[in-house]
């Protein structure tokens, strides 16, 4: 067997391996957000997380923008705290009035986090990014008018407005209770 033929066949073998790897990496795995891009972390406290798991997707209007990084118990309040890893493109885009809820995809599907975003004001975005605007813009005045100072969410912030998972037993309990009341 001459060397050239062997080398060609080995080349073929390695090329097949590379193709298989590419197929698996691009076609089979989620090529969306997978830690390859920059990301930032947000936290949210829930009453009950149902069966939410680490790595569950975080969606805005059905589009995945991040994944659940971890779930822990708040040391003082004993409620679950969910750490969310979100694409860095969305840092400082959401206002702190944004709400997050635990939803279920389909009847038997897994649970995921849905974010209903409230878009942060321009000034809040700038201050969040660290570019403090010196001049008073109209938006600032508007905020002052309502006496509310909304901030943009940045790395490490806590989302206050959360809706817990719907637990089937609780739903049934409520339903029966309401029936009895009538």
């Amino acid at each position: 067997m001459n060397t050239r033929k062997i080398e060609i066949l080995v080349g073929l073998f390695v090329a097949l391996g590379v193709i298989a790897f590419a197929v698996l990496a691009l076609k089979v795995a989620n090529s969306g957000i997978s830690g390859s891009g920059e990301s930032y972390l947000l936290n949210a406290k829930f009453e009950n997380i149902g069966s939410l798991k680490a790595r569950a997707p975080i969606k805005v209007g059905g589009v995945v923008i991040g994944r659940v990084e971890g779930i822990s118990i708040h040391p003082q309040e004993f409620v679950p705290v969910v750490n969310m890893k979100i694409d860095a493109n969305y840092e400082c885009q959401f206002s702190d009035t944004t709400s997050v809820s635990i939803l279920t995809s389909g009847i038997l599907g897994e649970q995921y986090l849905g974010i209903s975003p409230v878009i942060a004001s321009e000034s809040a975005r700038q201050s969040c990014l660290g570019n403090d605007t010196v001049g008073n813009s109209e938006a600032d005045e508007l905020d002052d008018l309502f006496g509310v100072e909304s901030k943009a969410l940045k790395n490490g912030d806590m989302i206050a407005d959360t809706k817990s998972a719907l637990v089937l037993e609780e739903l049934i309990g409520q339903f029966l209770f309401n029936q009895g009341g009538e």
Partner: protein, 258 residues
């Protein structure tokens, strides 16, 4: 007393074997083939070990993927969840079946061949002859084979998984009528590159180390007679299969239990 002596003898000889095999492995690792003389040797072994195992790996992969799809479908369709066939197949392949079945097939195909080849070289005094020619057999014979095995198996496992997923697509989508779009998209949503694919590749590398090491050691340390070689070949397949399954449990516990 006899029993104790037997036990002691067995223990000591096990440790001695472990020592000899570690020495051989270190000899092979230290003697990375040098680029000028070593590369042709390595390429030749990649051909013998990797390319020659390609056919059995691809055919087995295709069938295992098809069977997985068929079995998975009949269970999932009962829950109306046949769209989850994609992730079921992909996850079981990438995390478990790909690395493990490849390693078992590799032990049977390439591992036994390695043991028999080295054993035969020992029996026909080719290894002694190398030594008398002032050429280290660890460097010349063992090292290229070790590296070729170590490189080949992860490649084979990747090919196995890819072919198997295509096989599952063939059965699931083209035959049983699962929607092609949801087959791929749910799979993509569920399979993570680091967690599933990279961990699978790490598993493969560990299995490659274990199987190649056992195969080479059994050949290198065999009794240089026909019975010795046939015994060593059998032992290679048995020991490396057991080692692969054992390590698989350990690795799975470390990687996927958290």
């Amino acid at each position: 007393m006899d029993f104790l002596q037997k036990l002691g003898h067995k223990t000591l000889s096990r440790f001695a074997a472990l020592g000899r095999s570690t020495r051989m492995l270190i000899g092979a690792l230290v003697n990375i083939p040098n680029p000028r003389k070593g590369t042709p040797l390595l390429i030749r072994q990649l051909y013998m070990i990797g390319h020659q195992s390609l056919l059995i790996i691809m055919v087995s992969g295709l069938f295992i993927g098809m069977v997985l799809a068929l079995q998975g479908y009949t269970v999932l369709v009962g829950y109306g969840a046949e769209d989850s066939l994609g992730p079921l197949v992909a996850l079981s392949l990438l995390r478990e079946l790909g690395p493990v079945v490849t390693a078992l097939l590799f032990a049977g195909r390439a591992g036994s061949a390695l043991t028999a080849e080295i054993g035969l070289m020992k029996a026909t005094e080719q290894l002694s002859s190398l030594e008398m020619m002032a050429i280290d057999p660890l460097k010349r014979v063992i090292a290229p084979r070790f590296w070729a095995g170590f490189i080949s198996m992860p490649i084979l496992a990747l090919i196995f998984s890819a072919v198997a997923i295509l096989g599952a697509h063939l059965v699931g989508v083209d035959w049983l009528g699962v929607d092609s779009g949801s087959f791929w998209s749910i799979m993509q949503a569920q399979v993570s590159f680091e967690k599933d694919i990279l961990n699978g590749i790490i598993k493969s590398f560990v299995f490659a180390l274990v199987v190649t090491w056992i195969a080479l050691y059994k050949g290198y340390d065999c009794i240089p007679t026909s019975e010795g070689i046939s015994k060593a070949t059998t032992e290679t397949v048995v020991h490396s299969s057991l080692a692969v399954l054992g390590f698989d449990f350990l690795l799975t516990a470390v990687m996927f239990s958290g």
